[in-house]
Amino acid sequence: MKYTPTIGMEIHVELQTKSKMFCGCPSNHFKIKPNTHTCPVCLGLPGALPVPNKKAIDWTILAGLAINCSINKISKFDRKHYFYPDLSKGYQISQYDQPLCEKGFVNLDSGGKININRIHLEEDTAKLIHKTIKGKKVSLVDFNRSGVALMEIVTEPDITSGKQAKEFLKKLHSILKVLKISDCSMEKGSMRLEANISLSKTAKLADYKIEVKNLNSFKFVEQAINFEIKRQTKLLEKGIKPKQETRGFNSKTKSTFSQRIKESAEDYRYFPDPDIPPMHFTDKDIAEIKSKLPKLPDQQIKELDLPNHLAKLLVKKPTYLDYFNNHLSDAKKLKLSSEKFANFIINKKINISKPCKPQLIKLTKSIDVGPAILLEVIKENPEVVKKFKTGKTNVIGFLVGQVMKKTKGQANPKQAQKQLLIHLQGPSLQATSQ
């Protein structure tokens, strides 16, 4: 009998607020000189106190609204206790039983629906670097990342395959990108993925859970899940229950490996953070944040007058989409179809950091090297054409030069050559001249 995989995801998203979650230090920590964006609060110095960043709270609610969550009208911050050198206070300020957002969902294009358990707001930890110095293994700590606003999205265990996990993550990524609350870069670690995977034969959840951490691409998530399904199936078929553990992923071998066995549930001794007053939200507060919700990808795709695949590609990159929307009228004026215009952007024929119109003129003109100009050049240079027809094909360069001269450099030389060749070699010279 086949096993059914049960997969849930935990997604950490660093918010791109200017300052950190509980202090005024800059949030930016990527490739910054170590320990230069710190203060008593994020260094956890004695006597320092946290004050929450309003923007991070608003943005987390915004993310919740974007994935159909209900917003808790009463919320608070709690302390989550554990000891690790990357945690400056011995506890992380997080949210326990009253997260900002709960019970949302994301609809997948393939038809499925992934329920969201919750979104809560917390602070990021410091960064650890592992090194050997003078023959001794040590860890180095950089607190620039300590205290950066971090949103955690937790799904219900609704995912059933690696492929579906990838599709869900791509969709979630596109939604978050549109909100402009995070750069969602997996390379920079501003979006971090963890998958919880177990298998069971019945509808009931398995009594074990494998957590795979540090997955820094959607592809790796898919591969890790596929690997785990195979690995766990093998074990279960032998009658062995997989050990409850945290596993890492090796992208070279596309396999997971054991990192830490969890003997018992961690005891984080959560309690409400006495340093921070609770949060209350009125319907008006929530409506105000909702009014700032931009058009989401599904709606954007629907509203674009483009074939689905093109619309999706544009929506995936908000900068492309903005450029498209802002300059579509230019394209229309030049009688360019929206489809062709979208193609120019996606295929990088247009540099979106530069003005649109001149580029469009150039592009459209180079296409407009129509039969008229080509025939003109051919007619004006009978000697050269004769040479070409007798096999001296390298004279084509001269003809292309003539085309360029006539179009004042607006034509695309490659395209001009291609079209000249068609005319010179093709049987239809007579036909086109009519």
């Binding site: 607020t17 200017k18 300052s19 202090c23 005024g24 230090c25 800059p26 000189k33 170590p34 320990n35 230069t36 710190t38 203060c39 008593p40 260094l43 956890g44 110095l45 004695p46 006597g47 320092a48 106190l49 004050v51 929450p52 960043n53 309003k54 923007k55 991070a56 709270i57 302390r79 206790h81 000891f83 690790y84 050198p85 400056s88 206070k89 011995g90 506890y91 650890l128 670097i129 592992h130 090194k131 110095i133 293994k137 040590v138 860890s139 180095l140 700590v141 950089d142 607190f143 005891d267 001794r269 309690f271 409400p272 006495p274 340093d275 921070i276 007053p277 609770p278 949060m279 209350h280």
Partner: protein, 515 residues
């Protein structure tokens, strides 16, 4: 009877515990938890828990603005374990855990009473309890763990006083981390009472009491989590204020129990105290719990009726102290105040409640002391700090949190309600500070529970976030004794007026110890 797995709790608390300590703590925890069992007498099924006393204040946020950070040099300045701009720690993947045995050098004693830990400026007039961070000036919290630590910033209170021209003269001894009522729990030795150097000065702001009473300074800061300002004021013949919770900024004051900690002041009279208090009674953008709309806005009629909680004078209070308290009420009565008995039925649960909430919060607040960014490793914690960290880790741990921590938070609500009811009948409450007179140093150290019970009269106001002024009201065997005036939240001005009036009618506060 609960049996604590001390080993497991020590692991949760990340504390090295010797076999000898394990045995001792196991016995003491049994005793303390046995006492705490009394909370089960109360039905709290219909009571909501209280975690903060903030007049229901919500939504205290900051705008997303960048502020100046520390330099890399400043950030790394309090540790020698660095590498190219990074903090350096043992390999986190290593399974070998080494416990560094503390290498404690005895601290040079500065004054006879052992009240002073650091001399700052001979021209100053103010002494700061060593929980207040003073930029570039050693701040120890009375613990070996922070020995040598020079903070990168100053507490808001320190800044406010200095900006008003009140210069810091000393950093003062205290029970380590604020854990104590007698001043005997300092890692640098007990402070002595200037009225009798063989007795305790009261704690935890012990150095503040002794230095003020011996005229070395004119004003001292202190913190009161459960009597730590009121107790030394009482035992050293001083006037001290534990403000409304949230009135004075906690920013830069080393945290003991965050929902209870009230930074405050001590002086030799109510008049001097009021003047200084006005300088620090301010909202602070860096402390979210000071930003309360209702701060100082409560309109209060002048005090006319004073309530005496009958429960405070019927239990284990020393007879001669009770007599002094009754004398004080007599004085006030003779001068036109109405004095009436009131009841605070849940006050007797104050200590049991407090010894769940405060250790839970302190176990959390002291988790940051790992010796990485500043200070010494956790093995440098003294015995009382270890006791409280472990007790707090246990009562908030999985499976016990509801029985203890949440239960205590519910009883806290009932204690607050008692006061609310009382203030519908009276304008202020007059009560003893301590059930006993200053006792001999060392007399009670082997019995933590007995020491904890000294706070029986200070716990209710602390748990309720109420302001309380402690002031002298007589002597027993040539040792001072004090009383406290407790008012509704934000009624400090009224309490000061009453204290000033009493000090016009009496001379207790003018008496000085022979040195």
């Amino acid at each position: 009877m609960i049996n604590i797995n001390v080993r497991h709790v020590a692991k949760l608390a990340n504390l090295p515990v010797s076999l000898k300590e394990e045995k001792l703590f196991s016995k003491q925890f049994k005793q303390i938890l046995g006492y705490i069992e009394k909370l089960n007498q109360i039905d709290t099924s219909k009571v909501s828990p209280t975690y903060q006393t903030l007049n229901g204040q919500t939504n205290i946020w900051r705008q997303d603005k960048i502020e100046k950070s520390l330099t890399q040099k400043q950030a790394l300045s309090q540790t020698s374990k660095t590498h190219k701009g990074y903090f350096l720690v043992n390999d986190v993947f290593s399974t070998k855990k080494t416990t560094q045995k503390p290498n404690i050098k005895p601290r040079r004693r500065i004054d006879k009473l052992n009240a002073i830990l650091t001399k700052v400026n001979p021209n100053g007039t103010v002494g700061h309890k060593d929980l207040f961070c003073t930029k570039n000036i050693e701040t120890t919290a009375g613990s070996n763990l922070l020995s040598g630590y020079k903070p990168q910033y100053s507490a808001t209170v320190v800044k406010l006083l200095e900006e008003s021209g009140l210069v810091t003269k000393y950093k003062l001894n205290q029970d380590a981390w604020g854990h104590g009522s007698s001043g005997e729990n300092s890692d640098f030795g007990p402070t002595q009472n200037p009225w009798d150097t063989t007795t305790v000065p009261g704690g935890s702001s012990s150095g503040s009491g002794a230095a003020l009473a011996s005229n070395k300074i004119d004003l001292a800061t202190g913190t009161d989590t459960c009597g730590s300002i009121r107790m030394p004021s009482c035992y050293c013949n001083l006037t001290g204020i534990k403000p409304t919770y949230g009135a004075v900024s906690r920013y830069g004051v080393i945290a003991f129990a965050s929902s209870l900690d009230c930074p405050g002041l001590m002086a030799r009279s109510a008049k001097e105290l009021k003047k200084a208090f006005d300088l620090i009674n301010k909202e602070d953008k860096k402390d979210a719990t000071t930003q309360i709309e209702k701060r100082n806005k409560t309109k209060l009629k002048p005090i006319k009726t004073i309530g005496i909680p009958k429960e405070f004078l019927s239990g284990g209070i020393d007879k001669s102290i009770k007599e002094k308290i009754l004398n004080a009420t007599k004085t006030l009565k003779e001068n036109g105040y109405k004095v009436t008995n009131i009841s605070l039925p849940h006050a007797e649960y104050g200590i049991a409640t407090y010894y769940i909430i405060a250790p839970t919060e302190t176990s959390s607040n002291l988790a940051r002391y790992d010796g990485v960014r500043f200070g010494n490793p956790r093995s440098y914690f003294g015995p009382e700090a270890k006791r409280r960290i472990m007790l707090g880790s246990f009562v908030s741990s999985a499976g016990y949190s509801a029985k203890y921590y949440e239960k205590a938070a519910r009883v806290r609500t009932l204690i607050i309600k008692d006061f609310k009811k009382a203030y519908s009948q009276v304008d202020a409450i007059l009560a003893p500070v301590s059930p006993i007179s200053p006792f001999k140093i060392g007399e009670k150290v082997s019995d933590p529970l007995q020491l904890y019970l000294m706070d029986i009269f200070t716990a209710p106001a602390s748990l309720s976030g109420l302001p309380s002024i402690s002031l002298p009201c007589g002597f027993v065997n040539n040792l001072p004794i004090g009383m406290q005036l407790i008012g509704p939240r934000w009624s400090e001005a009224n309490l000061f007026n009453l204290a000033k009036t009493y000090q016009k009618l009496t001379n207790w506060h003018l008496k000085n110890p022979k040195l």
